[in-house]
């Protein structure tokens, strides 16, 4: 390893380790629940638990946590989800094997009147299955992890969540029933369908995956052909667990592409957009992009330098059609490292050089907005840290460095089966 490579490794290691630290600091060891954010009073997010469970194997391999500790934390979470009440009552932790999006860190009860969330349960289950593959020792604890993981996965009633349209609804609430929205088209729910299809107990209908792809838009934008989705995290989240290199579903076979290559192109679209900077936001440029799902300055309409700017709070921002309020998710470059390191790394370096105060103790905030004046000299910066962004950093940097999560999940029979049922062929399948 030459000096430059070593510097690169050190930089990535610093960010990854700091992100991993979030899960050590923000987990309730008694029940394994992980805070959604580091802000005071934050409830747990089940997706953050999924990322934490997926991160522990990384931590063990890199020596950031001892295996026994990782096992204990994993077991605490699995036992909590297995033993918590499942019913249609508001006081339950979930229904039909799915879980409420946000739970109280201590009591585990539903908070914020939130929904039983399909995608967040999926990210949780992805973490549970990662743990089940990694913790393969014939010890009572690790055996229990594997058994609980399988039971939790088998309990999820994916078919219940299918709507009349043949796709899967986004959620359910005890008083009002299913939400109006479906997971339709290309979005972060790719892994939801893959896990849903593979279930030996309550699988999604065979054609649900195909119905979902009817909402796909293959577009040529900025002279780049790709399967369109605006926010970058859509091109990142399912990829944290599944190595899409060389495997193709019928849609990608027809387009002579694969989802990994597609995410590479999506990263380039981000750069093209930021370079054009059509709305004239501060900071945007070739090496400053990441219009993504992240925290924002909050709902407000302000006139800044003669232009009316509408800002949002936590929202899925996207390119090139918006919404875009000038907020950048600084972790986007790290999460896109596996796809396009040649542009992601310069973006990371640019961030470190131009906005050093944004990064606190090597940890990335959810979002920052140089257009909107804030407390510091770099404009508005999101308070605290978010479990989702820390989680995607740990996993994607690891995939870039060693491919660990991808290798583990290639061994997961449910992932393999789901991919096959979705029509994926070729490559490592």
């Amino acid at each position: 390893m030459n000096e430059r490579q070593s510097e690169t490794e050190d930089l990535l290691d610093g960010f990854q380790r700091a992100a991993f630290g979030y899960f050590l600091e923000r987990t309730n060891p008694a029940n394994g629940l992980v805070a959604d954010t580091s802000l005071d009073g934050s409830p747990a997010s089940i997706a953050s638990v999924g990322f934490a469970l997926s991160s522990f194997p990384v931590g063990v391999e890199r020596g950031w946590i001892v295996r026994a500790d990782a096992v204990a934390r994993t077991l605490a979470a699995l036992r909590f989800f297995w033993n918590g009440e499942q019913s249609d009552k508001p006081e339950a932790i979930g229904y039909k094997g799915f879980y409420y999006h946000f739970l109280d860190m201590h009591s585990g009860k539903r908070v914020w009147n939130c929904e039983v969330s399909l995608i967040d349960t999926t990210l949780l289950v992805a973490g549970i299955l990662t743990a089940a593959v990694y913790f393969d020792a014939q010890t009572p604890d690790e055996t229990e992890i594997r058994e609980l993981a399988d039971a939790l996965y088998r309990r999820v009633d994916w078919r219940w969540a299918e709507s009349g349209k043949g796709t899967v609804t986004q959620g359910w609430k005890p008083h009002s029933g299913f939400l109006h929205y479906d997971w339709d088209g290309y979005n972060e729910a790719m892994i939801l369908y893959i896990l849903g299809l593979a279930s030996p107990t309550h699988p999604l209908s065979e054609n649900s995956y195909a119905v979902r792809t009817t909402g796909y838009q293959w577009e040529n934008i900025y002279d780049i052909d790709f399967l369109y989705a605006g926010p970058l995290f859509i091109h990142q989240f399912s990829h944290a667990w599944i190595d899409f290199r060389g495997i193709r579903d019928p849609f990608m076979r027809e387009k002579d592409c694969d989802y990994f290559e597609n995410s590479r192109r999506a990263t380039y679209i981000q750069r093209e957009y930021a370079e054009r900077n059509p709305h004239g936001f501060d900071g945007y440029g070739k090496d400053c992009w990441g219009v993504n799902a992240c925290d924002g300055p909050g709902e407000k309409l302000l006139e800044i330098d003669g232009k009316w700017r509408k800002f949002s709070g936590y929202a899925a921002r996207g390119v090139p059609f918006g919404p875009d309020d000038g907020t950048i998710a600084p972790w986007s470059a790290l999460a896109s490292l596996p796809f396009a390191p040649e542009i992601a790394f310069p973006a990371l370096q640019h961030l470190c050089e131009q906005y050093p105060e944004i990064v606190r103790d090597c940890r990335m905030p959810s979002g920052f907005n140089p257009t909107l004046p804030g407390k510091g000299r770099y404009g508005w910066v999101s308070d605290g840290f978010y479990g989702l962004s820390q989680g995607i950093i740990v996993l994607m940097v690891e995939n870039h460095r060693s491919g660990l999560i991808w290798k583990l999940m290639r061994q997961c029979r449910y992932i393999r089966e789901g991919l096959r049922r979705g029509g994926f062929r070729g490559g490592w399948l």
Partner: protein, 507 residues
């Protein structure tokens, strides 16, 4: 002072109104004596009825047209014409406020004169009514009857006690705004496109119910004319039929204008509270009440099928879907046809006129023209406008047609940048592996003007490759279409090169 100013204004209004009525339903009008047998009797004198009557009369047919109110239909009186003139004024005020974006100065003390905007609208409406006047229809040899026409059998209509016998008839009675089933709404009173153009004062606070084209257009126009507007849409996005990206851009634009947007929200009740109206909203399981001064309802249109005694003529209909027609626009009575809003899902002025011309031709000259063969564009006249023609990508996928989309962002178009009108895109959907245009969506300030080139291309079966050969005047916003065609050509060249090089390397 106020009294002195308002009197001339009132006199002007009356003059405009009298001129309008002179054109569309003269007070002294006496229905003519019917002839023994008409080649075509048209029920309804909106865009469909007038188009059918004019084209039939021009071909030498003896035609009668029956209208229960005034000529011109919704389009001229309460639809496209008045709404677009109002939008023009509302855009003017928006541009004034946004003057800095165009290198100008925001005028001091912008005072919105709502009454002037409405008067301009009425003046323009009267001016355009000349082309659809009773005088013109009569001069073309068309017998114009005012009154309620009712079928008395499969070949006759009665009006005002007189029987009109026909060889063929055309039902073109149009549509009216749907009243949603919201408890308290009727009692409280509300606006629709039917009475909103009678306003002379802008409501201070306005609730718009419905986020389809009517609701979005109305919300934006009133907001720009000074109202505090709240819009409630019972769907996760505006314009549910349109491309999601188009709806996203529109939503951002409405919010930037200052409209309070409530998506996925149902209006569940309306109450009077003193002089104001309280509107109860529900979003999933969250409830909210908003106080407003007026409510504008724009949730769709219902066909006018009642009162004609269609049963006597053997014409099947449904109160929601309208008169049942086949692809030749023939009803279940083979001598009776229908056109426009009364029988079509797409309720647009131009669709009404185009379908009426087909129907007249099929009825009188044994034509076999199909409605489904028409290429019909449409446009939502918000700012930016949202225009569409042909298939959506989703529709193509559902029909198992492979589809590729070439997208040009308006922020890459020189003229759009020069104009300060960079919001939007041109998306052209092609049949995969070919240059055949399946459909297109344009979001741009002048999308309605731009879409016509793509309608022409689809209608004349001109592929995107050929469109790249067309020279567009520079700089124009429509050049975005040419840029999409150029992108297609580049992609095609790349794939040909890839194919050739792979053959070469395998050699």
């Amino acid at each position: 002072m106020h009294h002195d100013e308002s009197q001339p204004q009132q006199r002007r209004q009356e003059r405009i109104y009298r001129a309008l009525m002179q054109n569309l339903h003269p007070l002294a009008w006496r229905n003519p004596q019917p002839v023994d047998m008409y080649n075509l009797v048209v029920l309804g004198a909106g865009p469909a009825g007038l188009a059918a009557a004019s084209s039939a009369a021009a071909m030498g047919a003896k035609v009668a047209i029956v209208e229960r109110n005034v000529l011109g239909g919704n389009s001229l009186n309460v639809g496209s014409v008045p709404s677009k003139t109002i939008y023009r004024t509302s855009r003017l005020y928006a541009d004034m406020r946004d003057a800095e974006n165009f290198g100008g100065q925001v005028p001091d003390n912008i005072r919105i004169d709502f009454a002037s905007a409405m008067e301009r609208m009425r003046r323009i409406r009267t001016r355009l009514s000349r082309y659809e006047s009773v005088e013109r229809m009569s001069a073309a040899g068309i017998d114009v009857f005012f009154g309620e026409g009712r079928f008395t059998g499969p070949r006759a209509i009665t009006i005002d006690g007189k029987a009109l016998r026909f060889k063929k008839a055309l039902i073109a009675t149009g549509s009216r705004p749907v009243t949603p089933m919201i408890p308290g709404l009727t009692e409280t009173g509300y606006l629709t496109d039917k009475n909103v153009f009678d306003l002379n004062e802008c409501p201070h606070r306005l609730m718009v119910v419905g986020g389809g084209p009517l609701g979005c257009e109305g919300a934006q126009a009133f907001c720009r004319l000074g109202a505090h507007v709240v819009i409630a849409q019972n769907n996760p996005t505006f314009l549910p039929g349109e491309e999601r990206d188009a709806a996203q851009i529109l939503c951002d634009a409405l919010i930037r204008d200052g409209i309070e947007v409530h998506l996925n929200t149902k209006v569940v009740g309306v109450r009077l509270d003193g002089g104001q109206k309280l509107v109860d909203l529900v979003c999933v399981d969250l409830k909210k009440t908003i106080a407003v001064d007026a409510i504008l309802v724009g949730v769709g249109r219902a066909p006018n099928v009642e009162g004609m005694n269609l049963e006597a003529a053997g014409v099947d209909y449904d109160t929601a879907a309208g008169v049942r027609v086949n692809d030749f626009l023939q009803t279940t009575n083979p001598n009776i046809y229908a056109a426009g809003d009364v029988c079509l899902e797409q309720k647009f002025t131009h669709t009404a006129a185009a379908s009426a011309r087909i129907a007249a031709q099929n009825a009188l000259f044994l034509g076999r023209k199909r409605y489904s063969a028409l290429t019909i564009p449409w446009c939502t006249y918000t700012d930016p406008e949202i225009a569409h023609v042909g298939l959506y990508a989703r529709q193509a996928c559902e029909r198992h047609i492979p589809v590729e989309t070439f997208t040009i962002l308006m922020h890459d178009v020189d003229r759009a940048i020069a104009d300060g009108e960079e919001e939007g895109f041109v998306k052209i959907h092609l049949r995969g592996g070919t240059d055949r245009i399946l459909g297109a969506t344009i979001v741009a300030r002048h999308a309605g003007e731009m879409i016509n080139a793509l309608s022409l291309a689809i209608n004349a079966k001109i592929g995107l490759h050929a469109m790249a050969q067309v020279i567009y005047a520079y700089p124009t916003q429509a050049e975005a279409i040419k840029m999409a065609a150029d992108a297609y050509n580049r992609t095609r060249r790349k794939s040909i090169l890839k194919f050739l090089s792979s053959r070469w390397l395998n050699w």
